[in-house]
């Protein structure tokens, strides 16, 4: 299956901003995070199709996954 993965802020450094990536069916978000060498404790916000998600949630074909470090502003 194909997942649209977007990385933001410091996670872009040395990686990418957006890529369509292939994974086996039912791959969990945590697996994608680990594969990208992003330390789990640095993950601040996970948005799966614009809804907050958790690391153990499985992905489906055509999903949009956005991964952010902890960020803030105002």
């Amino acid at each position: 299956m194909q997942v649209n993965v977007k990385l933001f802020a410091s996670f872009q450094t040395g990686r990418f901003k957006q890529e369509f990536r292939d994974y086996p069916d039912q791959t969990q978000i945590g697996t994608v995070v680990r594969e990208l060498n992003i330390p789990e404790e640095e993950v601040g916000i996970l948005l799966l199709n614009a809804v907050h998600a958790k690391l153990d949630q499985p992905l489906s074909d055509g999903d949009l996954l956005a991964i952010f470090p902890l960020v803030g502003g105002g």
């Binding site: 809804v51 907050h52 803030g72 105002g74």
Partner: protein, 580 residues
């Protein structure tokens, strides 16, 4: 801060001044001071631009001390925009300088006869109030440049541009940054118009010969300050995200979450979002020899700001904030950073609130004045209409509510006539509660539920559901009111919400400075007390429960992509102030 300066602009024979003991205000500051004085002294039913209104300026409880990031200044009055009480705060150098000069507050009352324009010069030895008509209708950048020849570059300036002189309800008061740029604004609620109504163009603050305010318990204060700075530096938001990308790091977050109000609150996602994101902004700033990291005042250890240069590498403006990038960007369908930065420059120069002005332009676009996405048209409106005080410029400068009426727009995003900031309340329901119920009108900083709803700092409350939002907003509004009184920048909320030891070091900082014991309960009690008196002022000014509401389109129009409406009920909103 043992004295209060009172200036009476109405006095026969010209303005008079007197100094009084600070009394209870010696150990207060910021919003607590301005709102208490406004509550005690301003008739709630007065016209905001009349002689009865007062402009109160107060540094925070820790301003002018060695405490890190303590340079926020509060300005209070009855707001010409909302008709309710107003506290508008900003960074820049003014708070530190005014506090070192020993003033807990400056209270400006009355209105002088005639057309003369005044300036106020405050230094260690005296206060001078004088006529200077050569400053008339100068905007902030040329004004500060001119004044520097007279007063030098070791002082802090608080000034109004032409919008303040023209009494526009979106007019701000500019505070200069460490490099004397008039870029840090008490923006919200038209405080600049109140200063303009009193015919004061600029206040020059000179602390030559003054020292930092000394703490009562030097050892405790010093230890607490060290721990406080350490806590700020080690938290990912204040230690990494904000310095590297500024507040505009939020563009991508809100856009991805579907909570980024686009084309005047029609959708929750903006196609051009990535182009104007904090990531793109920082990259552009660095490539043009500007800076992605800069502090608005000396002593700021987060440094969320930056310097934006134009294509030729020449200074154009400070790094536009997330709110500005949104109001002039996605809200208006504009996705060009140079256009947004130019609008930011004009906002600062003319002296208007970037949120109110951007939202007004977007509302005018919805009313057919311009096409969404017309960046050139937006710049023309600001530079050729607002800055020149044309009738159209005055309508826009009167804010989003007035603009909506002028153009017959039904989708007007205001609460208590103040424009909504950059988070859609249908996708971020907690911030909707704050917008609706804040004493200040729609104001994200009054209780930043975005942190818990979207950013997952300080807890986790589902942004798409009404459950838990009242309690969240209530607690945040109480805490924020207290922080707005300390002089500390609100962005310390990120580390103190997540790290109990950093919250403790903030308490110790206050306790060590004033030689008292401070607990979390004391902070909450202060916040509640100030909110209660602000609410009383609003009630006496004619506000009721029907004013603690979002505009009805948030209940009737579903916002894509989540296709939700605002789900918190009126009955629930009325429970926010459950203690008074």
């Amino acid at each position: 801060m043992d004295k209060i300066l009172r200036i009476n602009m109405s006095a026969a024979g010209g303005p008079t001044q007197s100094t009084e003991k600070a009394g209870e205000f010696a150990a207060l500051g910021g919003r607590a001071t301005t709102s208490t004085i406004v509550g005690n002294e301003v008739p709630p039913d007065c016209h905001p631009l009349s002689a009865d209104n007062k402009l109160v300026i107060a540094p925070g409880m820790l301003s002018g001390t060695a405490a890190a990031i303590s340079g926020r200044i509060s300005v209070g009055c009855k707001s010409p925009l909302t008709g309710g009480i107003k506290e508008s705060n900003a960074g820049g150098q003014a708070a530190q300088v005014l506090a070192r000069l020993g003033y807990a507050a400056v209270i400006i009352e009355g209105i002088p006869e005639g057309d003369d324009l005044y300036k106020i010069h405050i230094n260690k030895d005296r206060v001078e109030i004088s006529v200077d008509n050569s400053n008339k209708l100068l905007d902030n950048y040329p004004l500060i440049e001119k004044l520097q020849k007279e007063y030098g570059d070791k002082v802090a300036y608080m000034s109004i541009g032409s919008a303040g002189e023209r009494l526009m309800a979106s007019a701000s008061i500019a505070c200069t940054d460490p490099e004397l740029r008039p870029t840090r604004h008490c923006g919200r609620g038209g405080v600049g118009a109140v200063m303009g109504s009193k015919k004061i163009k600029v206040i020059i603050l000179d602390d030559a010969g003054c020292k930092n305010r000394p703490p009562q318990d030097a050892e405790r204060f010093k230890t607490a300050n060290r721990a406080f700075v350490e806590g700020i530096r080690k938290h990912p938001v204040s230690g990494e995200g904000l310095p590297a990308y500024g507040t505009n790091v939020l563009t991508n977050v809100l856009n991805e979450a579907g909570g980024y109000p686009t084309n005047n609150f029609k959708t929750g996602q903006f196609e051009g979002g990535t182009k104007i994101s904090g990531e793109s902004l920082a990259e552009l700033e660095i490539s043009r020899g500007g800076k992605a990291t800069h502090g608005c005042h000396r002593g700021c250890v987060i440094q969320c700001s930056g310097i934006y240069n134009d294509k030729d590498g020449k200074y154009l403006t400070k790094q536009p904030e997330y709110e500005t990038v949104w109001s002039h960007g996605g809200h208006c369908g504009i996705s060009d950073l140079d256009t947004i930065a130019t609008l930011d420059y004009w906002d600062d120069n003319v002296g208007v609130d970037t949120i109110e002005m951007g939202v007004a332009i977007g509302v005018a676009m919805d009313g057919g004045l311009l096409e969404f996405g017309d960046g050139v048209g937006a710049i023309n409106l600001l530079r050729d209409e607002v800055a020149k005080g044309t009738p159209l410029g005055r309508i826009l400068g009167g804010g989003a509510g007035m603009t909506g009426k002028a153009f017959g727009v039904t989708r007007v995003p205001v609460v208590k006539n103040q424009a909504l900031p950059a988070y859609d309340p249908r996708t971020v329901q907690g911030i909707g509660v704050t917008y609706a119920t804040s004493t200040q009108g729609a104001d994200h900083t009054a209780g930043y539920a975005v942190a818990t709803n979207i950013l997952k700092v300080g807890g986790d409350v589902d942004p798409l559901k009404p459950e838990g939002q009242i309690e969240l907003s209530r607690n945040l509004q109480i805490a924020t009111t207290a922080i707005d009184s300390t002089g500390l920048c609100l962005f310390i909320a990120f580390p103190i919400l997540d790290q109990p030891e950093t919250f403790q070091s903030m308490l110790d900082l206050l306790g060590g400075f004033y030689g008292i014991e401070m607990t979390g309960d004391d902070v909450a009690a202060l916040g509640q007390k100030v909110l209660t008196l602000e609410r009383k002022f609003n009630k006496d000014a004619g506000f009721g429960p029907e004013d603690d509401r979002l505009p009805s389109f948030f209940q009737t129009e579903k916002l894509p992509p989540h296709n939700l409406t605002f789900g918190v009920t009126d009955e629930e909103l009325d429970q926010l102030y459950n203690w008074d």
